[in-house]
């Protein structure tokens, strides 16, 4: 496999911005970083499914209401944000581990919480006054 070079063989792992710097960290930490990446991807897929489901269910009553459309778009945009954040966080954390630097915090945690609360408020408005 190209991702498992022999000791002494030229390291061709990608991206070089990650694997071209620092020293090899404990593989267990790299696996933990990879599982965190995958968890973010699953969160992204969950947001996408929720957004599409809201749009689809709301469409049963003919026209999509403004609140439902807004909630659907918010969830899907959050899903896109989670997807992009997943790969950028993976790169930054792997690089930080190789350089022996502290791991970065993520503004996406706050953004994800804010979107979930906002969509819950929109849902409350629709259920109560819709």
């Amino acid at each position: 496999m190209s991702d498992s070079p022999e000791p002494g063989e030229r390291d061709r792992r990608w991206p070089r911005a990650v694997y071209g710097v620092g020293t090899e960290p404990d593989p267990r930490f790299s696996f933990a970083n990879e599982r965190t990446f995958l968890a973010w991807i699953r969160t992204s897929l969950g947001f996408l499914a929720a957004g599409v489901a809201i749009a689809a269910v709301s469409k049963f009553s003919n026209q999509l209401s403004l609140e439902a459309r807004l909630a659907a778009i918010l969830l899907i945009v959050c899903g896109i944000g989670c997807g992009i954040s997943a790969i950028t966080r993976w790169v930054r954390n792997e690089r930080a581990m190789r350089l022996g630097e502290p791991l970065h915090s993520s503004p996406m945690l706050l953004a994800v919480t804010a979107v979930v609360v906002l969509v819950a408020v929109l849902g409350f408005i629709v259920v109560t006054f819709g």
């Binding site: 496999m1 190209s2 991702d3 498992s4 070079p5 022999e6 000791p7 390291d11 792992r13 990608w14 991206p15 990650v18 694997y19 090899e24 593989p27 267990r28 790299s30 696996f31 933990a32 990879e34 599982r35 990446f37 995958l38 968890a39 991807i41 699953r42 992204s44 897929l45 969950g46 996408l48 499914a49 957004g51 599409v52 489901a53 749009a55 689809a56 709301s58 469409k59 999509l64 459309r69 659907a72 778009i73 899907i76 945009v77 899903g79 896109i80 997807g83 992009i84 997943a86 790969i87 993976w90 790169v91 792997e94």
Partner: protein, 107 residues
């Protein structure tokens, strides 16, 4: 010959299972999209469904190969890790997101 687990925490196996969960989440999401598309065109829905199944099978196979290669590499004290597969998964997810956004905007 079957190699013993690389570490008692079964890190490689947990990571492999995490890949499988992600594949299943992706398949569920794709099937939801296929079902919604069926109201527009049955042929397109079947195409989306078949593509999702084949895509999931291909990525699942890639995950298994990666799991085996990593396991053997660690036992042989070789370097592990690569960013290509995470990038591929991100690209597929973002492609699904574009479809979801188009659906929400056109609904």
């Amino acid at each position: 010959m079957t190699l013993p687990p690389w570490d008692p925490g079964l890190q490689i196996e947990r990571t492999g299972l995490s890949w499988q969960r992600t594949m299943l989440a992706g398949l569920t999401c794709s099937m939801l999209v296929a079902r919604l598309v069926a109201s527009l065109s049955v042929a397109l829905a079947v195409a989306v469904g078949v593509a999702a199944l084949l895509g999931t099978a291909a990525l699942g196979w890639l995950a298994i190969l990666r799991f085996r290669a990593t396991h053997e590499a660690l036992h042989a004290e070789q370097l592990v890790g690569d960013g290509r597969t995470p990038l591929l998964i991100t690209a597929v997810t973002l492609l699904t997101a574009v479809g979801a956004l188009l659906y929400a905007l056109s609904a």
